[in-house]
């Protein structure tokens, strides 16, 4: 090899545009070093290129006893506000509709080995993430990825994020047609498009081949597309907009029952323009398109999109891709041959693996093989082995899934035992795909700056426990989905699991205890057709016992074939809450200190690494008393919601917020009255205007929820609105707890 750097070595192999962009990105490093680029600008530049921050990148870390500085050699040089240059970061590699090839897999494996920790991590939006990457390494890494036509561009930042799509597209029994070429065309059309550069917030589209299955999760996306063929045999999509998980989950609304394929790209362009023009820009907490759709109403939003569409100058690319759409976007490498192996010749464990990890394709004689990845992780060495398997048995196509797995498609039936053996040899033949074993978890406190509790630690622990008893689990339990997020942002998609969790914390005496909010009864089917509701917060260490209790109860008390979600609905939130109550107790520190650490992390728990000070002071017991009242009012609101009294539910949710605000105000002003106007005004002047309530990331977000509801009570709230109000109340109460914790804390240790 003669070239002395990757830029020269890969000359001619990278698409010019990408190569040029990467050169500019690298040049900006130098300008940043010279102080010629502002921190904020550099941060957004980096984010738009997929280089994210990671936990501890503010240059400090709590080691369980105290916060200690991480003395990186770069000194004061930063790569964003409060982000140290040398601190390791995360790189997100965009994988449109999850589609990869062996060549790409190999390059990603090389990059993981040379720039990261040798692990490729599949995310809940079908991307691949590498962690612990130094910013100085990112330009070369981007070049190597660009040489196989992969971009990290717009994987983060306020733009169109990865377009997700069902991993079974093209081979699925229930799809209308293969969505892959349409998702690909949309990705190519929108990447770097001028109309998508001015969003107030990120925008996440998703494609699904049918209405009923979960694979595309279209209802929880900013824009969702469901393949449809109309009466004339014309291809098109049902289009939904304004869905999303995050702190306040929204179900998308139907924008159009049928948008013909020819209109797919101009329509998203029109949507983008409306969103860029009318979407919130200043308050990023209300900037996702779901807020715009909720504010305007879907009818008005549709009208605006239709108007906008009329004004768009024609673009040949709108329809050019249609000519190239082949009947089969992917084709088999091998002929379909029946499996005729005798039982005794089958490899050990094959039948059990086959019972959960295979899907019989629409096309006779072919199967989809799911490679179940524990916590979404696989190694560079496994990636290379997998690339060999892909080339040998299926040719080109391997995909990521939103359940953090991989799939191989077009596997000839006769090859299944051989594939099983070869996957087994590289540690990729784990069974239990799409079962309770197939846990989904966001990165949580392992690497995410916003993480409160250890979602991966919990998932790892649950996995170990479930593996031990998987064989004995009854079928209805095996079928359950468990998902968890490290905080309310919901990256682990816990709202759409049978049993979901998101991390939070509670102060007990002088200590902080990691907790998970239990979210039950979400629906994975029907493209994430309904969301679960929070039932109560339980200490992290009690979660395994909670799962045992819930699953045992379900098994014993379910009626006929009742699904878990239906069972929870039948029990009702009140009863569920009663069931959870015994698990909410936290033993005294001296009695069981294990409750005061998180799963997989022996350090005494702290939320200090989120940028919030450590706590050592006495708790303000008046606050805790009143705040717990607020919690119980919020709980009553849920009961009303369940019983269909939406106005009452909304009113109670609001009252719960006022109560929590009052609790906080009382810590400063003992004589606060019970008048809501008074409470809100006092809260505003004492906690909002002073920014005491603000945390580092959410700023005043949750306070604005209170002001909004106080100033604009809805005339006759519907189910959606009441549901949102309850979610907001819960978040506001959480934020009051967090604020009290901060204010009653006295920072300890160096560098806070």
């Amino acid at each position: 090899m003669s070239a002395s750097n990757w830029k020269d070595a890969l000359q001619g192999l990278m698409p010019d545009k990408l190569a040029h962009e990467i050169d500019i990105f690298q040049a900006q490093f130098e300008l940043k070093r010279q102080g010629k680029i502002e921190d904020k600008v550099f941060a957004e530049t980096r984010l738009r290129r997929g280089a994210y921050g990671q936990r501890y990148d503010n240059g400090q870390r709590h080691d369980g006893k105290q916060t200690r500085p991480l003395n990186f050699p770069c000194g004061d040089l930063t790569k964003g506000p409060d982000t140290v240059w040398d601190a390791p970061g995360m790189v997100r590699i965009k994988i449109p509709y999850g589609g990869m090839t062996p060549d790409r897999l190999e390059v990603m494996a090389d990059c993981a080995e040379e720039y990261s920790d040798g692990i490729l991590h599949v995310t809940t939006r079908q991307d691949i993430q590498l962690h612990f990457v130094h910013i100085d390494d990112t330009p070369d890494m981007m070049r190597r990825l660009a040489s196989v036509n992969i971009t990290t561009r717009e994987a983060c930042g306020n733009s169109i994020r990865n377009i997700t799509g069902c991993p079974l597209a093209g081979v699925c029994k229930t799809e209308s047609f293969d969505i892959s070429p349409y998702a690909k065309a949309m990705m190519e059309f929108l990447l770097g498009h001028p109309d998508v550069q001015d969003f107030g917030r990120k925008f996440k589209p998703a494609f699904s081949g049918c209405d009923d299955e979960a694979c595309g999760l279209v209802w929880m996306h900013d824009a969702g597309y469901v393949a449809k063929v109309n009466a004339e045999g014309q291809r098109g999509f049902k289009v939904v907009v304004g869905g999303g998980l995050g702190a306040v989950p929204h179900q998308a609304k139907v924008l159009s029952e049928f948008t013909p394929a020819e209109e797919l790209l101009p329509q998203i362009q029109a949507i983008s323009r409306v969103f860029a023009r009318l979407g919130e820009k200043k308050n990023r907490n209300r900037a996702r398109i779901k807020f715009l759709v909720a504010k305007l109403g879907i009818d008005e939003f549709r009208r605006l999109v239709e108007e906008e569409r009329k004004t768009l100058p024609h673009d040949d690319r709108w329809t050019a891709f249609l000519k190239d759409i082949p009947d089969h976007f992917t084709k088999p490498l091998k002929d379909a041959v029946e499996l005729t192996i005798s039982a005794k010749d089958k490899p050990e464990g094959f039948d059990e693996w086959a019972s959960t990890n295979l899907y019989k394709q629409r096309q006779d004689g072919y199967y989809v093989v799911t490679i179940a990845l524990p916590l979404g992780d696989f190694t560079s060495q496994q990636a290379r082995g997998l690339a060999d398997v892909v080339r040998k048995y299926v040719g080109e196509d391997v995909r990521t899934t939103v359940e953090q797995n991989l799939v191989l498609r077009w596997v000839s039936e006769a090859d299944l035992p051989k594939i099983y053996n070869e996957l087994q040899a590289i540690g990729l033949a784990q069974g239990g795909a799409n079962t309770i074993l197939d846990l989904v978890a966001c990165p949580g406190t392992d690497t995410c700056k916003l993480g409160i509790a250890a979602s991966r630690g919990l998932a790892g622990e649950l996995r170990t426990r479930l593996l031990g008893k998987y064989g004995e689990l009854p079928e209805p339990i095996k079928k359950l989905h468990i998902k968890m997020s490290g905080c309310f942002n919901s990256c682990g998609q816990h709202h759409v699991a049978d049993i979901g969790f998101y991390g939070n914390s509670r102060k007990i005496g002088n200590h902080t205890v990691p907790h998970f909010q239990v979210v039950l009864g979400g629906q994975w089917e029907h493209n994430a057709g309904s969301y679960g509701l929070a039932c109560g917060s339980v200490p992290s260490k009690a979660i395994p016992a909670v799962i045992d209790m819930l699953t045992e109860g379900y098994l014993k008390n379910r009626q006929d074939d009742e699904r878990f979600g239906a069972y929870i609905d039948r029990l009702g939130k009140k009863q569920v809450r009663e069931l959870l109550k015994p698990f909410m107790e936290v033993p005294d520190y001296t009695e069981d200190p294990s409750y005061y650490t998180d799963w997989g992390d022996p350090r005494e728990f702290t939320i200090g690494d989120m940028g919030v000070g450590e706590c050592a002071g006495e708790i303000v017991s008046v606050f805790s008393m009143e705040a717990s009242k607020a919690e119980s009012i919020a709980f009553d609101a849920q009961i009303e919601l369940e019983e269909g009294s939406f106005a009452k539910a909304d009113e109670l949710a609001y009252k719960a917020m006022v109560k929590a605000a009052q609790a906080l105000v009382r810590t400063q002003f003992q004589d606060i009255t019970d008048d809501p106007d008074d409470i809100v005004a006092q809260f505003r002047s004492r906690f909002y205007d002073t920014e005491l309530f603000f945390d580092k990331y959410a700023k005043g977000k949750f306070a604005e929820m209170l002001f909004n509801r106080h100033d604009n009570p809805p005339a006759s709230p519907d189910k959606d609105q009441a549901h949102h109000q309850i979610e907001e109340a819960q978040l506001f109460i959480e934020a009051c707890y967090a604020c009290d914790m901060r204010l009653s804390a006295s920072p300890i240790g160096g560098g806070v």
Binding site: D117, F132, T379, D446, R603
Partner: protein, 197 residues
């Protein structure tokens, strides 16, 4: 070079439980038990034949890993030091930190009892597909540097040195077997004295 690593295998696989390594590495961070800026612990014990438990650092990462199916202690240098311009010197330093790290773990008061390491076999890898792709020529030319660095520390004869894999995609790797290898403690004594002098 982009990445240089070295590793030693444990004597008895059953002596190591990954879960028990996690608090040890956290303690190393608090105590600054090994060289370099230590950042965090990454837990990959769920990944079969994976990197196990990693102690992520700025200059390099330490790990108790399972990539060959057997637990091994590994140190991987992530950043070149300007003062170490020669490849032999870089390999020497990586070996030094591997030995010291392994010994720190061996001497750790672990509830599961002491962990012993074999010193008669060392694996050195170079993951740098630009400067040192895994070719037969690179193996031949770099082999001498690896041999020399090992011989220097061990004061013993390198018996064999094998190329780990001929698969060009895999990092360039050297499996070094040493005849009459001194015990870990003795080796650490040497590299520590050498560093101090």
């Amino acid at each position: 070079m982009q990445r240089i690593s070295a590793k030693l295998y444990v004597e008895d696989s059953s002596a190591v439980t990954p879960t028990a390594i996690i608090p040890v590495f956290h303690r190393w961070i608090s105590d600054g038990a090994v060289e370099g800026l230590l950042i965090d612990v990454a837990d990959y014990k769920h990944v079969p034949e994976g990197p196990g438990i990693m102690l992520i650092g700025h200059e390099g990462d330490y790990s108790v890993e399972y990539t060959d199916g057997v637990p091994a202690f590994r140190y991987e240098r992530k950043r070149d030091r300007p003062s170490e311009s020669e490849l032999r010197e870089q390999i020497h330093q990586v070996l030094r930190l591997t030995l010291i790290g392994a010994n720190t773990l061996a001497e750790n008061p672990d509830p599961h009892g002491p962990i012993g390491f074999r010193t008669d076999e060392v694996v050195v890898s170079i993951a740098d597909r630009l400067r040192a792709p895994n070719t037969a020529e690179n193996f031949e030319s770099i082999k001498h540097e690896v041999e020399a660095a090992v011989a220097e520390i061990y004061g013993a004869v390198v018996e064999t040195i094998e190329r780990i894999s001929e698969d060009a995609r895999v990092p360039l790797g050297f499996r070094v077997r040493i005849d009459k290898a001194p015990a870990l403690k003795e080796l650490v004594g040497r590299v520590q004295t050498a560093a101090a002098s």
